[in-house]
Amino acid sequence: MVLRNWLSTTTKAVLGQSLAAKIKNDPFYRFQTIEELQIAAQLGISIDANQATVDDWLRLPGISIHQARALVELTHSGVQFHAIDDIAAVLGVSVDRLKPLQLVLRFCYYDPESVCTVQPVNVNTASLEMLLKVPKIDLHLARAIVAHRTTSPYRNLPHLQKRLSLPPTLTAELMHYLRF
């Protein structure tokens, strides 16, 4: 009996260790339970709510692809999340339901006025004035971007470069400011 108890605790410990190793080594590991979230929190894994991608959000248990996309769209448009209450409000669920996610979620503040923060603009939706705020985009280029996107949206940066025949040096300077 004692031996069996000891064996079960050791196997549990071994399994827990392998789970921790899996969580640590797979940056896309998707947490299934709150227990796994606790292990992740102990390992120091955190997800920054204001910079998370769709795949980062999908790592959290109970977050669907549509919810993840909605959250990412909001952060891309410049909305800042300050607490778990904001996430709950966006998703339309109660705060209590999302409480366990606080174990790994971080709400870092990014000052929009700071010179270090670059808020990229979406070339497919941004107005002419917003495009003009981007360094290196002059009136001529902004008008060309707007004119070309009426036929079909830009898929990605190479697509934009090809359609507008931008020189590589200009593309390299623009890539930090544009989003698709």
Binding site: L7, T11, V14, V54, D55, I65, A68
Partner: protein, 125 residues
């Protein structure tokens, strides 16, 4: 697990070694059963794992290679690459296109798309 197919002879030699050595269970780790391996190591103070190792060594040696592969090399294809079936490639190509459509529709994420794409491509060879 490991991409290398497990060798029946090495498994048998490890089983014999584990029957003779003071600590047993190496062959269990080798064939990809770490839990059993741990149990064997833990029980090393008793003669049980040594007897079990002896039996398993005989079993590894006398069963034929196909049965061993079926048991321990599931998913690892050790047979030479067979000719590629064009209909299968066509079906996988269609599946890939549909998968990409799902990605552009936003129903699957980039990571999920890439994982499934690799799984589909692995089916070709």
């Amino acid at each position: 697990m490991t991409a290398q197919p497990k060798n029946r002879k090495i498994a048998a030699i490890l089983a014999i070694a584990s029957a003779a050595a003071p600590v047993s269970g190496f062959h269990k780790f080798y064939v990809g059963q770490p839990l059993w391996g741990t149990v064997y190591v833990l029980l090393s103070i008793t003669p049980i794992p040594r007897v079990a190792s002896m039996i398993e060594a005989a079993w590894y040696l006398f069963q034929d290679g196909d049965e061993f592969n079926r048991r321990f090399n599931a998913g690892v294809d050790s047979s030479p690459v067979s000719s590629i079936d064009p209909t299968k490639v066509g079906a996988i190509a269609d599946a890939l296109r549909q998968l990409d459509q799902l990605r552009t529709d936003g129903l699957i994420s980039e990571y999920e798309f890439e994982q499934k794409r690799r799984q589909l491509l692995d089916q070709i060879s």
